[in-house]
Amino acid sequence: MSTILVQVIVGGLLLGAVYALFSSGLTLVWGMMNIVNFAHGDFVMLGMYVAFVVYTLLGAGPLLGAPLAVLVLATLGVIVYFGMIREIMKGPMLAQILGTFGLALLLRYSVFWWFGANFLTLPANIVGGTYVISGLRIEASRFLAGAVALLVTLGLHLLLTRTSLGSKMLAVAEDSTAAQLMGIRPDTMQAIAWAIAAGATGLAGALIATFFYIVPTVGETLGIVAFVTVSLGGFGSVPGALVAGLLIGVIESLSGYLIGAAYKDIVVYSLFLGFLWFRPQGLMGKT
């Protein structure tokens, strides 16, 4: 394999890890409450803008931007849960879909109104230079984003499977009435799930902002990426989201390199539809 192809694949894996991170937030909420957050991509967009604001106001990089983005988005997640989700969960499907869709519009165009439609970027050297490992050139910003995203996604998986908080959340997902009888508050657990899910998007946004273009409508594209990842990995499954995220990152990079940058979204969307049609339960999901 030529070096450039390896380079493209490594770049895809690093980006894919970030996809996996924000998609695991979507899959968590979806698996636990059977709610699809259509504003999920716009949460990531907000994380990017938090990182941008932190840089312009304080001149700080992702070291400060990322924790702040997590904090801001986790708070937003809790507000959204108590303000809207808790009520519409009991409502009809139309209300559930419309509700998060309206939220997406509200967030996207508030940012649009405030910052304008211009493409913003953080300075290229905000994380440092480029590593050269045996002929492979890897930007430090992409490496940092990929590595942190991978670790946090794995951490999230451990949190859900190995801790008592994770077991409680699983119990609520399984049967919230039964969980309540065992002394677990479904409301608290679901609010925590929203905080975690939104926090993950904030982190992913702040990480991706170091090398990605920042624009209000980026959430639409990233939201569809999250849908693809979750439907590929099977809903509710964080390991599934991880594998699917990495896979999509690689597919996107490869198709961008082999067919042309204009067609890489076309490839990803077609893949998504193909999966919805032929295997709606995902790669790892059960029927």
Binding site: E87, Q96, G99, L103, A104, L105, I266, S270, L276
Partner: protein, 330 residues
């Protein structure tokens, strides 16, 4: 006959509207309200009555618009000729999308339709025959009346009104046919409807196809009024969103819901654009988003449901008062 009283009063007022409000802005506004009401009513068939939230209706809207403009650009025909072509293509596409995705549960259907819409927009943007990113234009100077290219909005107003009446007529007929009862049963509980023998998949697909065809007519009319179509105005996801919000605000699954929604939102958007200029574009959608969140949170049935409830409460109060009166009567 009492049931027809209010609709006919409203119809008379709508017909008379351009006579009272005769400035170009007001007539254009009226025409736009009717146009969006057509699109939202078409969406209402599948989104409201069947409860399948399609966010990809812009695909059919774009089909109609591109067919109408394509008929002129590529064949030198009147854009009107494009309408049947657009309907045929839309219905075909809706069948291709609908057969696999309507099996899926609600969320999946919505996500799939978003992806289809974005896919179409990207493909059309990269297709030279359809004008790429620039799009297609209609006749700049009308050759005859069939080019439907008027300076005044008045002819469009009455044309759109006629199409809206047909659309609402079809919707009413569908809602009161066997199909309408099936659709409402499916919306309330698909499993229960199936177990009682309602052909759920087939009925949903028919509703989707009907809705797609009507949406494409709205798209064609839109492109004729504006004289062009490009990927953003013909296939942008925001057009789907507008249909969805108008129907939901007025009352999804109610005959006149989309009309009420359009009559509130279109003037709001046009007036705010006029007042705020370029800055208003973003703000309009902030308001849209806020309105959706508020309706969903506090009045998921839409405005008409609220009005109906208030009416029935006052009705009950009146009846109770009458009952009270008779009881005390000697």
């Amino acid at each position: 006959m009492r049931r027809l009283l209010w609709p006919s009063v409203v119809l008379a007022l709508v017909i008379a509207y351009p006579l009272w409000f005769s400035t170009p802005f007001q007539q254009r506004l009226g025409a736009l309200v009717l146009l969006y009401a057509i699109a939202a009513s078409a969406w209402n068939i599948v989104g409201g009555y069947a409860g399948q939230v399609s966010v990809g209706h812009v695909v059919f809207f774009g089909c109609g618009a591109y067919a109408a403009m394509g008929a002129y650009t590529h064949f030198g025909l009147s854009p009107l000729v494009g309408i049947p072509a657009g309907i045929v293509v839309s219905v075909a596409i809706s069948a291709v999308i609908g057969v696999p995705t309507l099996r899926l549960s609600g969320h999946y259907f919505s996500m799939a339709t978003i992806a289809v819409a974005e896919l179409c927009r990207l493909v059309v943007t990269n297709t030279g025959y359809l004008g790429g990113g620039v799009g297609l234009s209609g006749p700049s100077v009308p050759r005859n009346v069939f080019d439907l290219s008027f300076i005044s909005a008045l002819p469009y107003y009455y044309l759109f009104l006629a199409v809206l009446c047909i659309t609402l007529g079809i919707t009413w007929w569908m809602a009161n046919s066997r199909m309408g009862f099936y659709l409402r049963a499916i919306r309330d509980s698909e499993r229960a409807a199936r177990s009682l023998g309602a052909p759920a998949s087939r009925t949903k697909l028919y509703a989707f196809m009907l809705s797609a065809g009507l949406t494409s007519v709205a798209g064609a009319l839109y492109s004729m009024m504006f004289g062009f179509v490009d990927p953003e105005s013909g296939l942008g996801i925001l057009i789907s969103v507008k249909m969805l919000i108008m129907a939901a605000l007025g009352g999804a699954g109610l005959l006149f819901g989309p009309l009420v929604g359009a009559a509130i939102l279109v003037p709001l958007e046009e007036i705010s654009n006029n007042l705020l200029g370029g800055k208003g574009a973003g703000l309009t959608f902030v308001v849209y988003g806020a309105i959706i969140v508020l309706i969903v949170r506090f009045q998921p049935g839409g405005i008409l449901t609220l009005i109906n409830r208030i009416w029935s409460i006052s009705d009950k109060a009146a009846k109770a008062a009458v009952a009270e009166g008779t009881r005390h009567a000697p």
